[in-house]
């Protein structure tokens, strides 16, 4: 990804320790979230600094996906405050949330593609919906597809892609707008170890370019592999609360 908007990407502040000393990109303040009658997340406070790398782990059904949804405004907390890029989610209009999502790239668990469009158009979708002419971005798009190793699959439809290809395409779509934050929900859930290492490598590269990375995963081996390459904080959701994971990881 040598030339791909490198100036923009590197202009972000780095804070490898993940401790937020200045303005935070994601802030949770006594956040709780309930589905129906049951509380899934309770009293969560967290600050994520720009350029940091975080893992979010916990057993299935512990609320990792819900946590991530709170991080890109798909959910609004039932109690407490979530501030994204400095703005309280509750104060945002629907248009504000849409604009904010252009600065937060999300790799969804199921990738969420439009099956009738070729891969290149799916990856370029954030550019399309923001009103930019994708013809002007063809070179960048090709470079990005090359970076994730999918240049030869540009015209393939999503159902024709393997699990690893889908995940890499989802990552490419998440970063095409050069977002400040990249959120990934179980990005290695459906791929083999080799592919998961490749995806991890891409995410670490992005972090080195200054992106804030938050990955929800229950794959502890992936976390261990990452910690040998990047300074990452590991957060764990247990009993509805968020904890900083210990040295066992």
């Amino acid at each position: 990804m040598q030339g791909w908007r490198i100036e923009t990407l590197l202009s972000l502040r780095h804070n490898r320790a993940g401790i937020c000393r200045g303005p935070c990109v994601i802030e949770f303040e006594n956040v709780a979230y309930s589905y129906g009658g049951g509380e899934l997340l309770s009293d969560i406070s967290l600050s994520i600094a720009p350029g940091s790398f975080h893992f979010l782990t916990g057993p299935s059904g512990s609320g990792k996906t819900t946590f991530l949804k709170l991080c890109y405004g798909a959910l609004v907390p039932t109690a407490g405050h979530v501030r994204l890029l400095g703005t309280d989610v509750r104060a945002m209009s629907r248009d504000d949330i849409a604009m904010m999502r252009r600065r937060i790239g999300v790799v969804h668990q199921d990738c969420a593609f439009l099956d009738h469009l070729p891969l290149a158009d799916n990856v370029a979708l954030p550019l399309t919906v923001s009103g930019r002419d994708t013809k002007d971005e063809t070179a960048n798009l090709q470079e990005l597809l090359g970076w994730v190793g999918l240049r030869s699959r540009a015209e393939a439809r999503p159902p024709e892609l393997s699990g690893g290809e889908r995940q890499r395409a989802a990552l490419a779509r998440a970063i095409i707008m050069s977002p400040d934050i990249v959120l990934a929900d179980e990005p290695t859930g459906n791929v083999d170890w080799e592919m998961s290492q490749r995806l991890l490598h891409l995410l670490i590269e992005l972090n080195k370019m200054g992106k804030t990375i938050l990955i929800a995963t229950h794959d502890l081996a992936l976390i261990r592999a990452a910690k040998s390459q990047v300074q990452a904080r590991v957060l764990r959701i247990a009993n509805r609360r968020l904890q900083l994971a210990g040295a066992d990881l």
Binding site: K69, A74, R94, M99, V129, S130, D133
Partner: protein, 302 residues
């Protein structure tokens, strides 16, 4: 002076090819919208034809009959001329009477012709003499005139047409109103059907809408993709339906005096211009209905 923003209209019609690709066309809803708009436009042409024809009829009946009355003089033939002259004298001195004249034999024959044929010997029949009275704008006092005629022309009977003219004009006016009510109902049904089709399209594309929203599409952008498509379909359908309706109206028998109301069902003069409004109105209804449906659906998404 408010100027329409033609550039926005052009952008809307030309559309955004990229946005159009993102939202796949849905065959069923596309056909439903086009067909509904065409069928409703076809019906609208007839409702409009009914309304304008009854409007013309009401105006004609009103204008032709409102200010005319008839005096019928029944008297022995040797007194008929004298009583006619007396009646005309009375009318000359009656306030509110603009003109009064006795119908000649040819005119009376023409009136009887539809019932007795062209060879009726009017001269030899003991038929009453008719006097046509045209009122001024203020009109005359019919009761006062009847009293005067009763005193001076015993064989004269005044018929001011009121008894049968009012229900006819009223009926024609009601028919015109019914035509406009039909137009409103057609617009409402069009809106309902297009809303249902738009809702079906939005439901069929729920995944597309959700993905677009997740990657940062604003509601306006997503809604526009659907609104534009449905508006253009309704516009095209309504244009086809209007043309078919016009063709059907042209196939009706042409208006003739002896044909009565049914042969006059059509458009005359500037009333043809009403038809130009049907397709854009259908497009406008589709624009509003689809926009409302899209906004409602999008609000339910995160």
């Amino acid at each position: 002076m408010i100027r329409p923003d033609l550039s926005k209209l052009t952008v809307f019609i030309v559309g955004d090819a990229q946005a159009d690709r993102a939202v796949p066309p849905t065959g069923f809803t596309a056909r439903l919208t086009t067909f509904s708009a065409a069928a409703m436009a076809f019906l609208a042409v007839f409702a409009l034809a009914l309304s304008t024809a009854s409007g013309r009829l009401a105006t004609r009946w009103g204008d032709e009959l409102a200010r005319s009355s008839t005096i019928r003089i029944s008297a022995p033939s040797e007194q008929l001329a004298a009583q006619t002259a007396a009646a005309l004298r009375v009318l000359e001195t009656t306030a509110g009477v603009a003109t009064a004249r006795a119908l000649d034999v040819a005119e009376q024959r023409a009136l009887l012709e539809p019932w007795f044929g062209p060879d009726v010997p009017v001269d030899s029949l003991p038929i009453p003499q008719l006097i046509e009275v045209v009122e001024t704008e203020t009109g005359f006092d019919p009761d006062g005139l009847r009293l005067r005629l009763a005193g001076e022309v015993p064989g004269a009977v005044l018929d001011d047409h009121t008894r049968w003219r009012r229900p006819l004009v009223k009926a024609a006016s009601r028919l015109r109103l019914l035509g406009w009510v039909s137009m409103l109902l057609i617009a409402a049904v069009t809106a309902t059907m297009i809303t249902l089709a738009a809702n079906a399209a939005l439901a069929a594309n729920a995944q597309v809408v959700a993905v677009m929203r997740l990657v940062g599409a604003r509601d306006q952008y997503i809604a526009q993709a659907f609104v534009r498509r449905f508006t253009l379909r309704a516009l095209a359908g309504a244009a086809a339906g209007t043309l078919a309706g016009v063709f059907a109206v042209l196939l009706l028998p042409s208006a003739q005096a002896e044909g009565g109301f049914l042969t006059g069902l059509g458009f005359q003069g500037w009333s043809w211009l009403w038809l130009i409004l049907i397709p854009p109105l259908a497009g406008g209804v589709a624009y509003i209905a689809t926009g409302a449906a899209a906004r409602k659906t999008l609000k339910e998404l995160p």
